[in-house]
């Protein structure tokens, strides 16, 4: 079972105008169920565009995108994925709990069900004590955890993340990475993760997909084979050799 299948996708913005841009050119990508795949590359390589195509927030100019074997549009309408962005994007007028409940509310779930599920999700991200707080009362890291809880609230088979830790400090970032891996392992969620950071991609992923700009395309894939994903592994020679490998692939000098 494949979680995501992208084939022959090209994305052209402002077609036929002087400012025409080819954001993605002939991209193929498959993500297996339960797999954690990172998209990495410099600005303008189209990694965020690719994520938005999978999320059906954009429609591809050519090619097809399938999520869990269904067309991307149908998958979106069925809420077959959860999504989180660099900005937590919480609704400041809703309490933390009601933010997590929102996707459930839109699915028409009952109040009791929503409350139970939101409590479960907040427990998962370690914010059970903050259910009644408003987002503005939380730190950036806590807000991002709420956003992840919200993305996972409908128990989606797929999690899409666009630099979710990009705006956080290094310490918070590393802690959230560990938490995210634990959550994904616990829920069996497949993940597509967009990032700028090579160590982040290596630490989180089963596979790192390297992209390059003008036009945006996939230039290489690095399989990550680490014995464990804990704080010790970040210092291991194995980890650094993978980082080096991804860096070389990014530069295009194997």
């Amino acid at each position: 079972m494949t979680a995501v299948s992208v084939s022959g996708v090209t994305q052209v913005f402002n077609r036929g105008r002087p400012d025409e841009v080819t954001a993605l050119s002939d991209v193929d990508l498959t993500v297996a169920a339960g797999e954690f795949v990172s998209l990495i590359g410099p600005s303008g390589c189209g990694k965020s565009t690719l994520l938005r195509l999978i999320a059906d927030l954009l429609a591809p100019t050519t090619g097809t995108v399938e999520v869990s074997g269904k067309p991307a549009r149908q998958a979106r309408l069925e809420q077959a994925y959860g999504i989180a962005f660099q900005q937590a994007g919480l609704f400041e007028w809703r309490t933390v709990q009601r933010n997590v409940e929102l996707p459930l509310e839109l699915r028409g779930q009952s109040k009791a069900e929503r409350r139970e599920r939101a409590a479960e999700m907040l427990e998962l991200v370690g914010l059970a004590d903050f259910a009644g707080h408003y987002p503005a009362q939380l730190s950036g890291g806590m807000q991002q955890r709420v956003a992840i809880a919200r993305a996972l609230a409908v128990h989606p088979p797929l999690l899409l993340m666009d630099e979710p830790f990009g705006a956080l400090d290094e310490m918070t970032r590393e802690r959230l990475q560990t938490e995210l891996l634990a959550i994904c392992a616990q829920t069996g969620t497949s993940t597509v993760f967009v990032t700028h950071s090579i160590p982040e991609a290596v630490f989180l992923s089963d596979r790192v997909v390297v992209m390059s700009p003008r036009p945006g395309r996939i230039t290489g894939t690095v399989g990550i084979d680490l014995p464990a994903r804990d704080e010790a592994v970040r210092q291991s020679p194995d980890f650094f050799s993978h980082v080096t490998l991804v860096r070389k692939t990014l530069r295009g000098t194997p």
Partner: protein
């Protein structure tokens, strides 16, 4: 205390300076009455001021309610249809440039002389503009992340408006309402200057002035000022109640 004390001290000092200027400078009381004389009238006329303020206040309130409701509904319609917004904003700007208070005598002639309707119309029209413009701006400013999120939830149309646009626009709506609340009182009072019913603060001010009873006229002006303040503070209180997520940050 620190926030309240300085303005109170300045206010008291200004009153003392005013009193001294009038009594020592021997300014004729029909030009500028002393605060003590106005205060005396304020006490003597308190029942009249209260009933006149109630009459003007009701007109202002009704004007505020319908003007605000119309402003918010119009903004919602205009935010929904781009063409409507493109057409309505210039029209609203022209409407605002029009000295609406100048419509009062014309509206007075349209209705019976015992009607409160023209005043409520004027107050409502004046309220409409700031509420419309601010609400429209609020409705249009949607966080792009919120937009993408709601798309990912397949939520659009009224669901999107109800869950994202309207609550997001609330701070803007209240900015408009705060301006409008004082304007409504001004409009309701000034509209009375052009005849019609003689029950409100505006008509009391003109009649007192016509009888050269200036301290009494000033006492009604103070009444109008207090009425405006009550409207403004009530709006502030409603703003706090409507947006608990902001109130909790302040406390």
């Amino acid at each position: 205390m620190r926030r309240v004390l300085p303005p109170v001290i300045v206010g008291v000092l200004a009153l003392v300076a005013w009193e001294l200027t009038v009594s020592l400078g021997r300014i004729a009381p029909f030009i500028l009455p002393a605060p003590s004389a106005i205060g005396h009238e304020l006490v003597a006329q308190r029942d009249n001021i209260l009933s006149a303020a109630a009459a003007s206040g009701l007109n202002a309130l009704i004007g505020l309610l319908w003007g605000a409701a119309a402003g918010i509904l119009a903004a919602m319609a205009a935010s929904r249809f781009r063409l409507l917004a493109d057409v309505s904003l210039p029209v609203a700007a022209v409407l605002n440039a029009l000295p609406i208070i100048a419509l009062a005598p014309i509206l007075n002639n349209m209705f019976e002389s015992t009607s409160n309707l023209p005043r409520r119309l004027v107050a409502g029209i004046i309220v409409f503009f700031p509420v419309f413009v601010n609400t429209l701006r609020g409705l249009r400013e949607v966080d792009p992340t919120h937009r993408e999120l709601m798309t990912s939830y397949a939520a659009k149309g009224w669901t999107f408006t109800r869950l994202v646009r309207l609550p997001g626009a609330l701070p803007f709506v209240f900015t408009g309402l705060r301006q409008a609340s004082s304007l409504a009182v001004i409009a309701a009072v000034v509209a009375e200057y052009f005849g019609g019913l003689q029950n409100g603060l505006g008509s009391r001010i003109t009649s007192a002035a016509a009888f050269t009873a200036y301290p009494r006229a000033w006492a009604f002006v103070v009444g109008a000022c207090l009425l405006g303040l009550i409207f403004y503070l009530t709006t502030l209180l409603l703003e706090r109640l409507a947006m608990p997520w902001k109130a909790r940050l302040l406390s």
